[in-house]
Amino acid sequence: MTIIERQPLAHVGRSVPRRDAHEKLRGAAQFVGDFVVPRMVHGKVLRSPFAHARVVAVDASEAEALPGVVCVLTGDDLTDLDPYWGHAIKDRPIVALDHVRFAGEPVAAVAAEDEATAAAALNAIRVEYEELPVAGTIEQALADDAPILHEGPLRPGLFHGLGELPPREGNVCYRYRIDRGELESVFARADLIVEGEYSFPAVYQYAMETHTVVAQVEGEEITVWSTCQHPFLVRAELADLFAVPLASVRVVVPYLGGGFGSKSYTKMEPLTAALARKAGRPVRIQNRVDESMVTTRRHGMRCRMRTAMTNEGNLVARDVDCWFDTGAYADNGPRVTATGGDAAPGPYRWHAYRVDARCVYTNTGPAGSYRAFGAAHLQWIGESQIDELARRAGLDPLAVRRDNLCLPGEELRNGAKSLDADLIGDVEQAAAAVGWSEPKRANVGRGVSVGLLAAGAHPVSTAIVRLEADGQVVVLVGTTEVGQGPRTVFAQIAAEELGVDVEQVTVRGTDTRFTPYDRSTGASRSTTIAGLAVQRAARQVRDQLEEIAAGDPLEPTAYPELLRRHFGFTGGELIGSGEVAPTGTGSYAEGPVFWEVCVGAAEVEVDPETGVVRVRRTATVADVGRAINPQLVQRQDEGATLQGLGNALFEEMVFEDGQLLNDTLLDYRVPSFADLPNEMTCVIVENEDGPGPYGAKGCGEGALAAIPAAVVNALADVGVPMQELPLTPERVWRRIQTLKEEGKWPR
């Protein structure tokens, strides 16, 4: 182990208060829903009641004649465009043309002087449908006689980022395969094999703020104020869709009320812009919760997995087939599928593995990104098989991990970045935090889990730092403040580099007309990559200051004087720019930029008579390289832990023939404070082994993959192995009844 000598830092590593705290606590922070644009009208969307149908006719004449209605948008208004969008696969029309593929798909949209008139006008639109057979589940979509949702070849979108797009096979729109070694011969020689079928439910990200867009179209100039995480990707898709130059599209993003992936890529912007184009006036569309639930969600998944080990405890092979339910349109499904495929083997020293992951169209709402996608789907399955093997071999699950986990520097996947974290140290800390070696009461179990998320953080960011004449600093960077705290972290980085106080630095929202390009706010990339761009931009300003100072000491209080000296009078500013671009060929194959660590532990208690699972303790490891703001790191892990408990214990979107049955927050429940574990520990590990500023790397997603896996393993430690999430009381109770019949309960 190398001893790291730390440079003393003034602002980095300190839990400075959030820069947005006052604004948000006073209720003064502006969100898209607060924006009022002159002449703005209100949009409402007519959505298909059918999960699969042909649209025979749409008659909007009665609705258009209503007083207060400005216009009604239907498929007939899009004949001058190529109306299909989708960043991965261009499979989705702005509004349904002649075919609806999910219940909730936009069929028409109304713009009216007020919301009530727009809502009333929806009832006056006559749509004639001809129902089609529904493929509401993965099984139905893969059946021989399944209705095919999308005919013809698939067209790649602008940002599919997955190399050559394989041809569509029935309803399978994407397939990701990786392998190593001679799988069958390794399995044939193995002593112990565990295999099973598993399912993970579709779940909803539930950001408190629903998708909201205000759009204005004036000639070639398109402006959208949007709740989007990736303003520059939305800009590119709108420019492509409406065939205008990039610079003609302006995307403005204020604070977001949560995202968790639900606002990644393009969502309601094309429809709102098309409606505004027809209305000739700015239009605002704000989804209700039930509308956002069919706008995006997490993929449900089915998986078949087997894992092999020797009697001595050497993990040797793993074989994985999985199917991701991406709903009616691909959205981010291909990337989710690939990331799931990459997560499936887990960070172990396999002799052989094979992963075949498919992304499947079904007649349900489209599925996209949600915190820790892919890893959240697969980690609990792989980790539960390792625990089962350990139990059968009579070995300590922690010891099996210690013996088989890859070490820093080891290659994880052929050609991919080698391991950049101390996973053994991480999992030992997590286990200790839940009292791994302490005696256990009856019905209490403990579990650990280890995984890696190939977050796919695209290494392209630019940032500008302006030093104003009064010594204040403004950072322009395209990262979206979703609640995760980048405005605070970037202020700390700029303050560190320039020697000013954090309070002297201002970081605002994105306006693509003025803010330089940042690829996206996702994949835990902002601190690492955008933060590096900010650091470089700030250093450029510092270099200029040093030049101006010509050897005089660089005191922040003297910056205004230095600027005066340089410009000859009061005024002017120093501008620094920073860029991050891929090194080498820039191919994704050399990625990820870093492996996000997903390590956790849990202690649960089950009530065998009711099946109720109570989570007593959790621990997560934020292996962040360097915590620029430790408190923000902890809050990230805590938020992901709670979402992980929701995913593990009770969240599930229930569909029947493609219809979402629990589309209200009365019936779809997210965790509340009453669901907090008795103890929740976040261990911050700082080995300065990240590629970001000061050795930082991303965090905030890993816990959401680690916690469901740790909970499943803790329950199996009690004697209740589960292969289906969520772990509702009834499901756990039924499992215990089956175990009783098999003579396996109590163990």
Binding site: E609, T610, V612, L649, F650, V654, L661, N662, T664, L666, D667, R669, P671, S672, A674, D675, P726, T728, P729, E730, W733, R734
Partner: protein
């Protein structure tokens, strides 16, 4: 939509007689959900929040009178919580603090949901509902008041004044099973009271909250009898067989708690 706000009970009854289509509203935790989801478009709301006669609680001849405007938060406060502990426990599981500050006993009775959290505790305490209209007052025992899922015996000109309950200071408790720890519509809920006889009442396990009684000697068979009295359905929250099973378990545990 008209919002009618009477300032006295007399005014309220007169308005209800004049506008039988007016939907009574107190905290709005049920009514506003219907409006917000556009499941109901009433021509008028009868806002009862300014009717002082409907508020609060009092002791009357060994029984406790609960005004229809009594909130869940008020039901959780001592000394009422000591007099009616099962109701207080049920109130604690309703919504978050904001909902408990708004939601009322009268509203729970008016909605008459099979999952109404206040109804099982009131049932085991022999609740009698007092109803009034300009035509006069009448008293209906709670088991006769709720006649079906979300249906009660109120005539269109009648309002709920409150309920009178007995069994104060008796051994009683409330339990429920749901996937989440609070603020959840229960998979099944149960109130049990032991006081001269055994009484159990359950919610979410039949079309209406139901009361089951037995003698003190029937402790061992009582859980099974309660489970058999249920007629649950399968829905997104749980299956009928699990609900029946959970009722049996909860009844046994509730008896254990009451019989110590």
């Amino acid at each position: 939509m008209d919002v009618l706000t009477p300032r006295s009970l007399e005014q309220a009854l007169r308005l209800k007689a004049e506008r039988p289509d007016a939907v009574p509203i107190q905290g709005g935790t049920d009514v506003m959900v219907e409006l917000n989801f556009d499941r109901a478009r009433p021509a008028a709301l009868l806002n009862l929040n300014e009717v002082a006669e409907l508020r609060g609680w009092s002791r009357q001849n060994g029984r406790v009178w609960l005004g229809s405007g009594l909130t869940y938060a008020e039901a959780m406060e001592r000394p009422l919580a000591e007099a009616l502990p099962a109701l207080a426990e049920a109130a604690r599981t309703v919504g978050g603090p904001q909902i408990r500050n708004r939601g009322t006993i009268g509203g729970n009775l008016g909605t008459a949901s099979p999952a109404g959290d206040a109804l099982p505790p009131l049932l085991v305490c022999g609740a009698e509902v007092k109803i009034a209209s300009v035509r006069g007052e009448r008293i209906v025992p709670l088991p006769d008041f709720v006649v079906g899922p979300k249906r009660n015996v109120l005539a269109e000109d009648e309002l709920i004044l409150g309920v009178s309950v007995g069994g104060t200071e008796s051994r009683q408790t409330f339990m429920k099973v749901g996937p989440r720890n609070a603020m959840v519509i229960a998979v099944v809920s149960l109130a049990v009271r032991v006081d001269g006889d055994l009484r159990a009442a359950f919610g979410s396990a039949g079309p209406v909250p139901t009361l089951v009684r037995a003698g003190l000697g029937d402790v061992d068979s009582f859980p099974q009898r309660v489970a058999e009295a249920a007629s649950p359905i399968d829905d997104v929250r749980g299956t009928a067989s699990y609900r029946r099973h959970a009722l049996r378990i909860l009844t046994r545990r509730a008896l254990d708690r009451c019989l110590v």
